[in-house]
């Protein structure tokens, strides 16, 4: 008798646990009382603007609701989350808030809906052309750009004025002014993003173009990293940390936020970062309010100032069951009134031309000028691999494990191997990226 009760209780318990596990696996919130729910993974909504816009969209379209899934701030961490989600075949997301560099990979993998025919060419033409180029894969458009980003050199106008210096036009100027004015660890010369992540590839690309070099030519598959310009570019970044010591040693671990915090606490003269820094630095409690200037990135005599093209936009997942609803949202969010409000709240730079054409703000005009210098990253499907190769070698040089020359040689030969081995099996569409790397 004793055994029997033990037995039956055991089976009952097991049954309950199984039942519970089935309850636990209810499907994603697709519809609550006839309302379509669109899921999108984005960085945390610290300003609350997205929450407001999503609510407003829901008011105008009572049948559709946007569900914001909070992801990490690091771009490639969110890319990995989207990737695993799509690859698993049970995607959690209807909308993809996509960075420029994800488009070739996601489109090549067949995860994104082709949006080209949803708008007429003149409607697509309302956006800054760079942001549309960054939304294309093999000539088709997969993304509605809402934001365009380009690196800006922020500088302390007060310190430069006191020393009688002008914002640096060349890399040498930057290094000289930094060495002259800095007194570390209270005040560093130049802070940027030296952590081994996508931001490092962006930082490097700007210096590379500034020295007159190129990374990958998507039309010919040529790799230019080990040419003299590439070595010179990496030598400059390495010298910032090791030789001139104008960048703190911790810069090799900094992403955007760590570098901004140092600059905003008044402990750096120059900062390479995205435009979002501007309004944050002008807040009431900011110790550098009114002391910050904006300039394009410096260059060398052989190159031109370059600003890596970044920026997000909304793409629609092929696996979504609600593509028309998702498109409605894309139309809503890319319209000027919404774009203006996002810009006011977050300093995200709009991709809409009309925003700048009507703006009286001199700072916006200055940023618009910087955005003219934007260069895209190589639009190849294996960009992630190419970027990881570059990051690894650049980071190795910054931390002193390789000389700049060794690093660039290694990066170039691995990149060539990567492109050769994957390009042999298929014909390439050379019309996909007419303007790509060498504009």
């Amino acid at each position: 008798m004793r055994f029997r009760t033990w037995d039956s209780r055991f089976w009952m318990g097991l049954l309950l646990l199984f039942a519970a596990s089935l309850v636990g696996c209810e499907k994603r919130a697709e519809s609550t009382e006839g309302v379509v729910v669109l899921n999108v993974l984005m960085e945390p909504d610290t300003t609350g603007i997205w929450r407001k816009l999503f609510a407003e969209f829901h008011e105008r379209n009572p049948g559709i609701q946007i569900h914001h899934v909070e992801g990490p701030t690091a771009t490639d961490a969110r890319e990995d989350l989207y990737t695993t989600s799509f690859l698993s075949g049970e995607s959690a997301y209807d909308l993809v808030y996509a960075d420029v560099v994800w488009i070739p990979k996601f489109a090549a993998a067949g995860w994104l809906e082709d949006l080209t025919d949803r708008w007429s060419p003149s409607e697509w033409d309302r956006f800054i052309s760079g942001s549309i180029e960054g939304s294309k894969y093999r000539g088709r458009i997969y993304r509605v750009p809402t934001q365009i980003d380009g690196a800006v050199l922020f500088y302390r106008k007060d310190l430069l004025a006191k020393a009688g210096e002008r914002p640096p036009a060349t890399f040498d100027d930057l290094a000289q002014i930094s060495q002259k004015l800095q007194h570390p660890p209270q005040l560093w010369g130049f802070v940027w993003q030296g952590k081994q992540y996508e931001g490092l590839a962006c930082d490097f690309l700007e210096v590379l173009i500034g020295y007159g070099g190129f990374w990958i030519n998507p039309d010919t598959d040529q790799v230019g990293l080990d040419q003299p310009a590439g070595v010179a570019a990496l030598t400059f970044l390495t010298d910032c940390v090791q030789k001139w010591k104008i960048s703190p040693p911790g810069v090799t671990t900094y992403a955007e936020e760590q570098s901004r915090q140092l600059f905003q606490s008044g402990r750096a003269i120059f900062l390479r970062n995205w435009p979002y820094v501007w309004p944050l630095s002008q807040r009431e409690e900011s110790p550098i309010k009114g002391k910050v200037g904006l300039a394009p990135m410096p260059k060398s005599d052989d190159g031109r100032p370059a600003s890596t093209l970044g920026g997000y936009g909304f793409a629609i997942a092929k696996s979504s069951h609600h593509q028309d609803a998702a498109w409605k949202f894309c139309e809503f969010i890319s319209a000027l009134p919404q774009i203006r409000r996002i810009n006011q709240a977050t300093a995200i730079q709009p991709a809409l031309k009309s925003f700048y054409e009507n703006s009286p703000d001199p700072v916006q005009q200055a940023i618009y000028r910087v955005l003219q210098t934007t260069v895209p990253r190589p639009p190849v499907p294996q960009y992630a691999q190419a970027s990881d190769i570059l990051q690894r070698y650049v980071s190795a040089a910054l931390t002193g494990r390789l000389t700049p020359k060794q690093a660039m040689r290694g990066a170039a030969s691995e990149t060539r191997l990567l492109l050769r081995r994957t390009r042999t099996s298929k014909g390439r569409d050379s019309h996909a990226f007419p303007m790509a790397q060498l504009r």
Partner: protein, 273 residues
């Protein structure tokens, strides 16, 4: 003299083991200003529960805990049952081919998870099981089978055959003997095995990270690990510390209550292997 030195060394070892975790508790109770303060503040002046509240309000943290609990418990129960059956067969019944299975099981325990990861991922993708607890439960059962069968086989061998003979005479069949006599008699060994399996399941990361892509389906281990850098303004170390504390408390509880059993189980698993 020698005794005192020894005592000091022992307490050093204890501090070494506990300090990193204790530091998380302290951090989780400090205010953000205290966390960022230099030099480091060791005793929070204004202890706060704020980070814990932040944790539960910003992320479905209770859901993570529930998922972990559910997946670990179901895996544990099924794994113990399946391995008890196999162990009974290994210890009592001379079945041809059993040796092969035993060797197979032992080799699994030597393979790192990454070997099985991608084909399992493909399976999960093809069967549409992503975000379904079963996608984790099935591998967790398998990964713990080697260890569980090992301990249970060894334990079953220590149970006297006379009891089974007597039960046979009383008209019990084999299944009844296993479920109603052997299993209850083995309660201590079953409990030990179950505790260890539970801990392994709770701690698994690679599969939990990749098979569960929805926030609502994540286990606490994967959920906490993807928490870093969750804020655009500052890396929320206070909230991370709070998450570390909450997600590990159940395990601390298990260790404190079942310390003896865990050591016994681990040594049995190790020495019998």
């Amino acid at each position: 003299m020698k005794k005192t030195l020894q005592q000091i060394l022992i307490w050093l070892a204890v501090v070494w083991c506990l300090a990193p975790f204790a530091w998380q508790i302290i951090t989780s109770l400090k205010t953000n200003a205290e966390i960022a303060h230099i030099p480091t503040i060791y005793a929070p002046v204004h202890p706060t529960w704020g980070h814990y509240q932040e944790l539960f309000s910003r992320k479905p943290f209770a859901r993570y805990l529930w998922n972990s609990f559910l997946i670990s418990s179901v895996s544990t129960v099924v794994c113990v049952l399946v391995s008890a059956m196999a162990a009974y067969s290994f210890s009592r019944l001379k079945v041809r081919g059993a040796r092969g299975l035993q060797v197979g099981l032992i080799s699994i325990s030597f393979f790192p998870t990454i070997i099985f990861f991608f084909p399992l991922y493909e399976l999960v993708r093809r069967t549409g099981m992503a975000n379904n607890p079963i996608a984790l439960i099935v591998p967790y059962i398998t990964f713990n089978l080697p260890f569980a069968t090992l301990i249970l086989t060894a334990f079953f061998r220590t149970i006297s055959l006379d009891i089974e003979e007597a039960a046979k005479v009383d008209g019990f069949n084999r299944w009844q003997i296993l479920m109603k006599i052997i299993m209850p008699l083995s309660a201590p060994a079953l409990a030990t095995t179950a505790i260890l399996i539970f801990i392994f399941c709770w701690n698994e990361f690679l599969l939990a990270l990749t098979f569960m892509t929805r926030d609502s389906a994540k286990t606490v281990t994967a959920g906490v690990a993807s928490l870093s850098g969750g804020s655009i303004y500052e890396i929320p170390w206070g909230a991370i510390a709070a998450a570390v504390v909450v997600s590990t408390l159940p395990l601390i509880g298990l260790v404190v209550v079942f310390q003896k059993r865990i050591i016994q189980g681990l040594t049995a698993g190790a020495t019998k292997g």
